[in-house]
């Protein structure tokens, strides 16, 4: 495919996917990390991989980033084959890896400039973009600082700025906010949301359901190397969870004996180590019924259901263990 083809495709016919994967596999020795997954990512979309640690998200991301050869199946980016056109594809990608891989021997600004040079930008252009991007991630005042002493949130922002130096068409973010405090997460989400508005396609992995809900137009839920569900966050919740969830907490270690009070008050219930979840269209009604049954919870909370509930429903496990 050439750029011209993409232009004519945009004019009327359905847009060709930016990423196309079918039967995609990744194997390390005997261990199957990614077990035949299919997905397409459209231009301008924010697409997420949601799943616990070890689900195969990072392996998938590394294959998309053309730094890990596929073990089987088809993978195409911009209509190109990573095995043959790695450098040409990577030229159009921005990558934010799970662990910050900033160059500790260089300053914040130098990190961005040399990265631009890897993409063949002229020195002047690399410096100009570095300046703009540091402004974008609100780190202009740290431009000449070494990377080492920066906080986790700041390093993450530098990494994101660095990933944008080549003005990528597709930005890959592997667990962008893991390990950050809530304030730093919100700053990052805000920046990512702005990028999305500018038309950058985002592909991210996360094991935070709120992150997936905030950022993703569409996502797949992964477990043990497979895709177990896909859709928009709303669709997934509607399909696999109820409108509301009632969380009941009992005295420690007494969940089993209190399960009887929760049974039947909603559509279904789930006993977790620390609490009992009741899935119901109306949580308050379910709570009233449970109390009428004789339940004496130490605390009760009614909330809207989330992707966490979807994940629990699909895999029988919680996301963050």
């Amino acid at each position: 495919m050439t750029a011209g083809d993409e232009a004519s495709a945009n004019a009327g016919a359905p847009v060709a996917p930016l990423i196309h994967a079918s039967g995609l596999r990744k194997q390390f020795g005997d261990f199957v990390a990614v077990d035949g997954i299919d997905f397409d990512v459209q231009p301008g979309e924010a697409f997420g991989f949601l799943g616990p640690n070890g689900a195969g998200k990072s392996s998938t991301m590394r294959m998309i980033g053309c730094t890990s050869p596929t073990s089987g199946g088809t993978l195409q980016l911009f209509g190109l084959d990573p095995a043959k056109d790695g450098p040409a594809i990577r030229r159009r990608l921005g990558v934010v890896p799970q662990m910050d891989s900033l160059d500790n021997e260089l300053t914040v600004e130098e990190n961005l400039v040399i990265y631009g040079r890897y993409f063949d930008l002229s020195r002047a252009e690399a410096r100009r973009r570095a300046k703009d991007l540091l402004d974008f991630v609100q780190l202009t005042d740290r431009a000449t600082s070494r990377v080492e002493p920066l906080s986790g949130g700041m390093k993450r922002r530098v990494t994101i700025a660095r990933s944008l130096i080549n003005q990528p068409d597709l930005l890959l973010l592997d667990e962008p906010t893991t390990g950050l405090d809530p304030q730093a997460r919100h700053i990052l989400w805000d920046r990512l949301y702005r990028l999305k508005q500018q038309g950058v396609t985002l592909v991210l992995t996360t094991h935070y359901m709120d992150e997936a809900e905030q950022l993703c137009d569409r996502l797949v839920v992964m477990d043990a190397g497979k895709i177990v569900a896909q859709g928009s966050p709303r669709q997934l919740i509607d399909e696999h969870a109820t409108r509301e969830v009632l969380e009941l907490r009992f005295r420690a270690g007494s969940n089993a004996e209190n399960e009887q009070y929760a049974a039947g008050v909603g559509d279904r219930h789930e006993v977790l180590p620390d609490r009992i979840l009741v899935y119901a269209h109306n949580g308050d009604e379910a709570l009233a019924k449970a109390i009428a049954n004789g339940a004496q919870p130490e605390s009760a909370l009614v909330r809207r259901s989330t992707l966490e509930d979807v994940f629990l429903r699909l895999t029988g496990r919680t996301l963050v263990e």
Partner: protein, 283 residues
């Protein structure tokens, strides 16, 4: 930031080696390397603030050569090699120069590369760009050569100032030392790619120390008697022989053999490095 930008349409890089079958001695990933100079540029950026450290390049030879001239040379007096009579300091100085080229290259390609590979993870970030494993391998080796060039020039200047040079041919010792550096950097990096932790680096000294002592560095090959052939297996021996020939201004066919030995070592190292880096970095 749009996928419709025709400038961002993929362009396949032309295969530079197509018309030059000789380049087939280079590993495939190195043959398609297009941006090794960017790796060098990164190093220059790092050294921009720490360049005074390069001055240390003058001290090492100065101390080496002074210790020999002041002490050993007085004890040993003159030495006769292949019919030439020269002072002991003149005999040892070229060997020290070759050894220092080896040490510099080994240090750079083992400790420094291991740190960047395993801890700083510099290359992981580099490979997320259009840069390739060949660019990394070649760039790091070229950098080791540039450093070698600076250090051996410093060595040569020190030698000249101390009056230990005996021929204009000694100028050839600089490219010779770059070749020594190439051979040891390539093999050093290849070994580094197999190292699991810092304790494995004990082996580096275990190898370089005997090379330093027994490569006809401190006494001529003839003194090794019937064990001379073992000495000739040492890559440093060939480096020492070349620098010594340059200092004496003696041109002989033996030079071809020494150069061939070092070149073979360099290219063998380059093959292993390319394969191993691909294995380690592109899992």
């Amino acid at each position: 930031m749009t996928i419709l930008d025709p400038a961002s349409a993929p362009v396949r890089a032309p295969r530079a080696s197509a018309g030059f079958p000789l380049l087939r001695i280079l590993p495939p990933v190195v043959r398609i390397s297009r941006r090794p100079h960017r790796m060098v540029e990164r190093q220059l950026m790092c050294y921009r603030r720490t360049w005074p450290i390069l001055l240390s390049g003058f001290f090492e030879p100065l101390f080496y050569l002074l210790s020999i001239r002041v002490g050993l040379s007085k004890l040993v007096g003159t030495i006769s090699v292949d019919g030439h009579v020269l002072s002991y300091a003149e005999f040892v100085a070229p060997a020290m120069m070759a050894a220092s080229a080896m040490n510099g290259a080994v240090y750079d390609s083992t400790m420094n590369v291991f740190h960047k590979l395993k801890y700083a993870r510099v290359y992981d970030a580099v490979l997320a760009t259009p840069m390739t494993v060949g660019d990394v391998a070649l760039g790091e080796i070229v950098w080791a050569l540039i450093r070698g060039l600076l250090y051996s020039t410093a060595f040569l200047v020190t030698m000249a100032v101390l009056g230990l040079t005996s021929s204009w041919w000694i100028l050839a010792s600089v490219p010779i030392c770059v070749l020594i550096g190439f051979a040891f950097a390539a093999v050093g990096m290849a070994c580094t790619s197999y190292m699991r932790g810092w304790t494995d680096f004990e082996w580096v000294a275990t190898v370089t120390m005997p090379l330093f002592l027994f490569s006809a560095t401190f006494y001529p090959l003839a003194s090794y008697g019937r064990w001379g052939w073992v000495v000739q297996l040492s890559p440093l021996y060939h480096g020492v022989a070349l620098v010594r020939a340059a200092n004496a201004g003696v041109v002989s066919w033996g030079i071809v053999g020494h150069v061939a030995f070092l070149l073979t070592m360099a290219f063998a190292g380059l093959w292993v490095v390319s394969r191993r880096l691909q294995f380690l970095l592109l899992k």
